[in-house]
């Protein structure tokens, strides 16, 4: 124990023990640890379930009118209705088809331009500035303009989706290619690889994770764009179901439609992550939200 020998010491720190006890506590048994973990999972599941029950209760007790907020049971019934009449089965292929077509074209354009701008200076000089400027335009705001230019039929819907998906793919492809470690390229140069071979064996494989992230993000955006596009005079697809539901004030179908969009979004994300894991066996997979 140290003693301070200052003559003017008005305050002396209380005597501290030299050792502190950090031994494991007896009460941290295997049981208490297991219980803590189990409690966590229980709460994670119970919380949304409780919310659903509360929702159902609120409607049952007529605290909120059924028209305004349908109960979960009504929404399930609405799903049943859509499936029985076959509407959902007709709508899904139409919507997914639009989304995929827009994604394929927009993603394709973004990929090609992104590669051109990433690999060659001249590509960057031509394309990067205009694309960086255009990407700040929210595509939703551009829809009225698209309608004037392209009408209200099928083409404009694809174009809306296309316009939305170009940018994530372009940006991530460009960044992925430019982000390849120059030291790797140096090493390849020394080992005698020609420029085309360096692109094929070093740059593209190393840029692939970024490129796929761009495509994954674009896939998500394509669904968002789909929702917007299907608001324009829809004749088929989930947007059509929703427009009808809106006209007939069927809020239960509206919510069901929204849930379908959300489910498609989750499915897209899962599929893209699987694709990434398959194409990039060399990348350690991180669990990200």
């Amino acid at each position: 124990m140290s003693q301070h020998s200052t003559p003017t010491a008005a305050f002396q720190a209380p005597a501290q023990p030299f050792l502190v006890d950090l031994s494991p506590r007896a009460d941290r048994t295997r049981w208490s640890v297991a219980l803590q973990a189990w409690g966590g999972s229980f709460r994670r599941v119970a919380s949304p379930l409780a919310l659903l029950l509360l929702w159902q209760l609120v409607v049952e007790l007529a605290i909120v009118p059924r028209q305004v907020l349908p109960a979960p049971s009504q929404i399930v019934a609405a799903f049943g209705e859509l499936i029985e009449t076959g509407e959902l089965q007709r709508a899904l292929p139409a919507s997914i088809g639009r989304s995929l077509l827009g994604l394929a074209i927009g993603g394709g354009i973004g990929l090609v331009i992104g590669l051109f701008a990433g690999l060659w200076r001249i590509g960057e000089e031509i394309f990067d500035a205009p694309l960086q400027m255009l990407r700040t335009v929210p595509f939703i705001a551009a829809v009225p303009l698209f309608i004037i230019w392209f009408g209200i039929d099928e083409p404009v819907k694809i174009i809306v989706i296309l316009a939305a998906t170009i940018f994530p793919v372009y940006l991530n492809t460009y960044a992925g290619v430019r982000g390849v470690d120059p030291k790797l390229i140096e090493a390849a140069t020394i080992f005698g690889l020609s420029h085309p071979r360096i692109i094929r064996h070093v740059i593209l494989p190393t840029a692939m994770p970024s490129i796929l992230v761009g495509i994954r993000y674009a896939a998500g955006i394509s669904l968002l764009a789909l929702v917007v596009a299907e608001q324009i005079n829809a004749r088929a697809g989930i947007g059509y179901i929703l427009t009808n539901a809106n006209t007939n004030q069927r809020s239960d179908i509206l919510i069901a439609g929204i849930i379908v969009y959300a489910a498609l979004g989750i499915l897209t994300d899962i599929i893209m992550r699987r694709v990434e894991a398959a194409v990039l066996p060399w990348k350690p997979q991180h669990a990200v939200a």
Binding site: D181, A187, A188, T189, I190, H201, T206, W282
Partner: protein
């Protein structure tokens, strides 16, 4: 005019960065199969010299003649993460011949079982061994090593010294090893250069027979000599009275 038996011929080599002469009138000839170490503190132009020898940089003046088949091992392994280990060894090539050559090279560095592995799964030492295999797979006449073991732990470094010597004996390239480590230089090289202020301030041959022992008196003498030339006093080593004067740069 150039001697076929030389791997490197530099005459009055100059490299400037702005007003600063990083390399100032360097004359250097390295014979085939000669093992040369280049010592010097950071910033003296060792890496610049190596980059010129590898062809990544151009000199600003003087003559530079180098062996056509060159290979480099950098401080980082610089493996393409999206390619398997064997594909990295024969980068850019495919087919059975390439695979066999890669296999052989990997066997020499003790990584036969890792041919199909991904670079991310390798430790630092293993990755550097792959880099060595890649450098030697095409039998270069000039092998350049830029502080290749600087980022490895001390124990791995000991193993790597043994490996480099073994590979050099088998393949016999001329070697230029840039390093901070005086012991490493004396252990491996036939000839040690000290770079200071853009010039070669010392060009000393290591006359010790291999296998060399770090604890031997000759080794100790050379170590002291080089440390003095580098301006470093190691109090854990030579007694103060025996320290010789450094040679002034001509």
């Amino acid at each position: 005019m150039s001697n076929q038996a030389n791997a490197v011929e530099l005459q009055r080599l100059v490299r400037r960065y702005g007003a600063r002469h990083v390399l100032n009138q360097i004359d250097l000839t390295i014979r085939a199969s000669e093992f040369v170490a280049v010592l010097g503190p950071s910033g003296t132009g060792k890496t610049t010299l190596l980059r010129i020898l590898s062809g990544l940089d151009r000199a600003d003046g003087g003559t530079v003649r180098l062996a056509a088949k060159r290979a480099v091992v950098f401080q980082e392994p610089r493996l393409v993460p999206a390619r398997r280990v064997w594909e990295n060894v024969v980068l850019g090539e495919s087919g059975e011949d390439a695979k066999r050559a890669a296999s052989r090279a990997l066997g020499e560095v003790g990584l036969s079982g890792h041919a199909q592995a991904w670079p991310k799964t390798l430790s630092g030492g293993e990755a550097q061994r792959v880099a060595l295999a890649r450098a030697l797979v095409h039998e270069p006449a000039l092998l350049l090593l830029d502080e290749p073991f600087a980022s490895l732990d001390a124990l791995t470094r000991i193993r790597m010294h043994g490996l480099v010597e073994q590979l050099w004996r088998r393949h016999r390239p001329a070697v230029v090893l840039v390093t901070h480590d005086v012991d490493e230089a004396i252990l491996l090289a036939d000839r040690v250069l000290v770079l200071a202020d853009g010039r070669i301030s010392l060009d000393m041959s290591v006359g010790i027979d291999r296998p060399r022992r770090k604890a031997s008196p000759e080794f100790d003498r050379l170590r002291t000599r080089l440390l003095v030339q580098l301006g470093v006093v190691d109090h854990a080593q030579a007694p103060p009275e025996e320290i010789p004067e450094p040679i002034a740069t001509p």
